[in-house]
């Protein structure tokens, strides 16, 4: 509860700051003497109070699902035939992220017959949000030529999304970039929580992975908060805050252990431990709430 209040309070204050930064006309009219110079630290960077937020790739979740032996489940995916119904920029961006996560899942499970349909959906939505360059004919061609090579397909897909992210940030459109990331992350969280009731022998790793993303959800909310008042954001961010209220009930115990570094191979092993405690009741609630948030995106 306290964390929710803190979140709403942060959201409110960050919204005001963002509003002031983006629209100098938000408040009263300023005299010409009062016009502030642009702070280049606060332009089109995804940067709130000096911090940038990293959201894990949906592909990492798909990797985990495969590792725990979760079977391929087509019914988890968003139907690519629905793209025509996404008419706002926010919906298109969120679903571009969701279809991207679906594509990663399909590639990882080597369901190549499905891949082209999802890649086409991604391409169409990327055209609609104005980032056609990243998913061009050249990528489609590379994709078709490497259908049997799962690793290459994952690299191509991730690289295309990184390229889109870069293009959007270069063109003052970090807002769209944030929604793509959010759509992908929620879709992958949905895959995991649906497997709570799926055919998986040892679900402990799935529960743990969900619990470990408490910080990611907070980061995602902070990433989206500057746009809270904009079309398509308010209801979505409110739903994420509601979900975060449940994540706050997860107990995460971290213990620092000194890392070890291998200079010759330029590699450091992080030895610290993290223990996640989550009750069966909470698992059920989170599963339901994730379904609601995901429903907001795809419907």
């Amino acid at each position: 509860m306290i964390n929710n209040i803190k979140r709403i309070s942060t959201l409110f204050s960050v919204s005001i700051v963002a509003c002031m930064l983006i629209f100098s006309s938000c408040g009263e009219n300023k005299d010409e003497e009062d016009i502030d110079p642009i702070d280049t630290n606060k332009t089109n960077l995804v940067n709130i109070n000096g911090t940038l937020f990293s959201i894990p790739s949906p592909i990492q979740t798909a990797i985990l699902l495969k590792q725990v032996g979760a079977p391929y489940n087509k019914s988890l995916l968003n139907n690519p035939g629905k793209i025509a119904s996404y008419s706002t920029e926010a919906k298109r961006a969120l679903n571009l992220g969701a279809y991207g996560a679906d594509l990663g899942y399909i590639i990882l499970y080597q369901q190549t017959q499905e891949a082209i349909g999802y890649l086409s959906a991604v391409k169409k939505l990327s055209d609609d949000v104005g980032i056609a360059g990243a998913f061009d004919a050249k990528l489609l061609e590379r994709f078709k030529q490497n259908m049997a090579n799962k690793d290459s397909l994952l690299v191509f897909t991730s690289e295309a999304f990184r390229s889109s992210d870069s293009y959007l940030k270069n063109n003052d459109r970090a807002k769209v970039s944030s929604l793509i990331i959010a759509g992908g992350w929620i879709e992958s969280l949905y895959f995991t929580t649906e497997m709570f009731s799926g055919n998986v022998q040892d679900k402990t790793k799935l529960f743990q992975r969900v619990g470990e993303q408490k910080n990611t959800l907070d980061n995602l909310i902070k990433l989206l908060t500057p746009y809270y008042q904009e079309e398509g954001f308010t209801e979505f961010v409110d739903a994420l805050i509601d979900l975060a209220g449940e994540f706050d009930k997860i107990e995460v115990n971290y213990v620092f252990v000194a890392p070890t570094t291998d200079d010759a191979n330029k590699i450091t092993t992080i030895n610290s431990t993290t223990e996640v405690k989550i009750t069966p009741e909470l698992i059920k609630t989170i599963q339901e709430k994730v379904k609601t948030v995901r429903g907001f995106i795809i419907n």
Partner: protein, 140 residues
Amino acid sequence: MNKIIASLLVLLSLSLFTKKIMAQCDTVANSCYKNITAKYISDGQQYRALLLNKEVAEFSATLFGGTQYRMAACSGMKDGQLVFSIYDKQRNLLFTNKEHKNSPYWDFKVKNTLDCIIEAKLLDENAASGCAVLLIGFKE
């Protein structure tokens, strides 16, 4: 009237300056991407911040247990221009490339999931400004 024109000119100049810096960030990021080799899958994002003088960029991230990551950190077109350090949430230092000749990339084998803060600052503290770029790749 003159003040309005002067203000508009200042805004225009700053806007052009910002565009120029963004283009610089893009060039740095494309060059930095060579450090994320084909063995790693990009996390699909590009983290960057314009740093002035001694400013420090802060990145909040979660690294999953059982995964090997590669982080590449760049500023400018030469390697080793950005100092990056990784701390856990208790501010214990886990790694800094300062102790490794400012290596532009480093690999991390993460045994258990970790919430961390990555800090980045320009090597030359006298530099007026620079674009800090961080890229993250991972592998199974």
